[in-house]
């Protein structure tokens, strides 16, 4: 087991190296830069040059890369070019708790609502309840979250103003963003649960369980659900990473000071250090979550063997 983990971690380091290198050079290859001269018509070009030199942007890209890597090894991700008073480490330290909090709540809501909906629609296949659950799931997947967010904002912030339309602070600021963010994963969890429940219910051992005369509740929760949840767990790994690192649309609409907004704004602003910092953090987080899921998977399903 520990050998497996060590191997996975080594692989993760190599992937991380490629991720950093490719992102770095791609980012410098796209046109434009953090200090574009033309915007300020009466700025002396010499001053722009001086600013670029201060950030080392006048050096060849490979040299900038070497500088970046050597600083990164010391844990310094540099300062933001656009938010000049902030270091990337600071932006991550303030942004991640916000995105993480909203993300984890959205996952909890998605699981609490999605799994029961999936079970019900699988057990009562073809019934009204099944159709209802599938309609909800389809809506959740097909309507973009920002449309739902604006709709909810119209209802709960303008027509019937009971919730704040933006901001960050108490529980009431969390309700709308969490709900919007949980909708699509909830739909996916419902569909996954439903289909794997249906598959499991056709297995021989379920027939055996029923013929043994076990109560229906035991059959469903002990025999069916335990196996049916495996695909859901696989799905949760990347989902945790995606939701906890923030959604640009939701953070922008509800003005949550999270990571998602920094990430997307950094790309359009060509804020190189922030792009790198966010990519590295996101990459590391995805790798960690996948690793944890893989390990958990091995424990839950004895058919999966990781040690040879």
């Amino acid at each position: 087991m520990s050998r497996y983990i060590v191997k996975r971690l080594a692989a993760a380091f190599i992937s991380m190296f490629f991720l950093i290198t490719i992102t770095f050079f791609l980012m410098h290859a796209i046109p434009g830069g953090p200090f574009s001269a033309g915007e300020r018509k009466n700025l002396n070009p010499k001053i722009v040059e001086a600013i670029r030199a201060r950030y080392g942007l006048d050096q060849p890209v490979w040299k900038q890369y070497v500088n970046y890597i050597s600083k990164l090894i010391q844990g310094d991700m540099g300062v933001s070019y656009k938010k000049t008073n902030y270091t990337v480490n600071e932006l991550l330290a303030t942004g991640f708790p916000v995105s993480g909090q909203v993300g984890i709540l959205a996952i909890v809501v998605a699981l609490i609502l999605g799994i029961p909906l999936g079970i019900i629609s699988a057990l009562k296949r073809g019934s009204l309840a099944d159709m209802g659950a599938m309609v909800i799931a389809t809506i959740g997947i097909s309507i973009p979250t920002f449309v739902i967010a604006l709709l909810l904002m119209y209802v709960f912030c303008m027509k019937w103003p009971v919730l704040p339309s933006y901001g960050w602070g108490g529980i009431k600021y969390l309700i709308l963003p969490v709900f919007c963010m949980s909708l699509s994963p909830m739909a996916n969890v419902t569909r996954l649960t439903r289909s794997s429940m249906l598959e499991v219910s056709r297995q021989e051992y379920i027939k055996t369980a029923r013929s043994k005369g076990l109560p229906e509740g035991v059959v469903i929760f002990k025999h069916m659900l335990k196996n049916a949840l495996l695909p859901v767990i696989t799905y949760i790994g990347p989902l945790v990473a995606a939701l906890m690192t923030g959604s640009f649309a939701i953070e922008r609409l509800f003005m949550l000071p999270g990571m998602g907004r920094y990430f997307v704004n950094a790309v359009s602003d060509r804020d190189y250090t922030v792009i790198m910092g966010m990519t590295i953090f996101y990459g590391a987080f995805v790798m960690l979550c996948t690793l944890l899921v893989d390990i958990a998977y091995a424990f839950i399903d004895p058919r999966v063997r990781i040690t040879r």
């Binding site: 700025l43 938010k83 704040p164 933006y166 602070g169 600021y173 004895p302």
Partner: protein, 545 residues
Amino acid sequence: MKKFLALLLCMAMVAAVLVGCESAPAASGGSEEGAGVGGEKVIEYCNGPQPEAMDPVTSNYLAYSTVEYNIYTGLTHLGPNGVAELAYADEYSVSDDGLVWTFHIREDSHWSNGDPLDATDWEKSMEYLLRPETNARALDLLVYIKNAEKYNLGECTWDEVGYKAIDDHTLQITTANPCAYFLDICCTYIPLHLDTVENNPDWAKNPETYITNGPFRVIKIVDQSGFYCEKNPYYYNAEEVKIDKLNFNWIDDQAVEFSAYVNGTINVSDNLGPQSDATYASTEEYHKASRIGVRYLTINTEHIPDVRVRKAMSYAVDRNMLLTITQETHEPANGLVPYGIHWGDKQFREVADEKHGVLAYYDIEKAKELLSEAGYPNGEGLPTYTYICKNTDTARAQALQDMWKQIGVNVDIVPYESSVYWDVFDTEDWDIGDDNWTGDYDDPNTNLFLWEEYREHNDDGSPKDAHWVNDQAKEYDRLLKQTYVETNNETRMNLFVQAETVILGDMPVIPIYYYNDTILIKPGITGVLKSYLGHCFFEYADIAS
């Protein structure tokens, strides 16, 4: 055992995540702040997203300026009527040659923490801003000071710069040229609390170290959420400041800002979308003010060398229709100096139009006539031109494309991301470029300087081929140069009128519209000043109880 381990791992994952969340800052959005506890007068203001930089040293953009001029005050500032008047300077005199300005700094000047503020603070602050190592961005208005640019480029010593404290309460500024609008410029000359600014690189992130001298002072900063201020008791004119709290709320999306205004979370909304315009345009909460900015098209005169073609393209633009299509509330432009710039008590625009007639307007017949005169009847024989714009401006581009099609001129629209656009613009590899400019002071020069000859050259001295370098350009340049030395206002303004006639007679740029700013203010709030630069001032505001 394995099940137990699995459970443990899952729990560890959730726990790890929750630990990360616990340190979340307990900041709040505007609504609770805006409750106005105990009859406090609170302005909840919003003007779109948070500006990139939030201090006067690294900021170079309009969006921060509204924050800056509510927490800092210069030697002069805009009075309640929007015209520059004395502020931290209570008296001034000018030498006969118009070059040496002597300001007396108020005896009762204080920083927002109560420390005394004197003329040496003003001098040291300017030295700090101009020092090359500081890398300050917003220097364009400091170069009026003699040798300021040289000092900034490390080409002279501070002794040679014309910005000196003579004693504790006298500041003497020597300008490079006589400057009729220097009091407007002095609004931007602010002091910095150097004890903190120089020693603490993080000063602008912390309310305790963000020491200012304006009508309001900072009490709380939450990055990406808001910037919260209160009345500054040490302000020289604090008695007249009626607002207790001024909160800047950052909202990226116009639709969200609109909903926040409708439900009362904010009471002054300064970033309006079509939705706000449609809902409020006919109400008394809706205010419109002209800003001294113009949107225009720059033409690559080497690619379109025939003035008749350029003029035909201007005549083909129905500016009213264009604004209807793009749902914008601006004013159709018939010249290059916008409304808001004064000629004595009158608008420069109105006087100039009387003098030289309207120079740019919609007349499709005239456009067609000019084209056939130039040898391109119905556009036959003309190449397809390349029109570049930002990808947020394509609606206007398409409308223009359609209007030009009516006279047989075809254009291809090439949109660019905004972070790339100005770099592409600099390549001059286009025929028509979307362009705009908002001035900095109440004088026609603030817009007309854009086409001066020195700007039409590359760093190595070679002329930029896209730009305007013919005989008319030289005449234009000659007229503008005269305005720098002419001290009689009437003669000077007439020179600007002539200059505008010359440039629009040759049409290297096609004016499209003059900017209007729109703002929503809840009933009961009075005295909000929307300046000609587009900044919002709350020093004179009040809220009816």
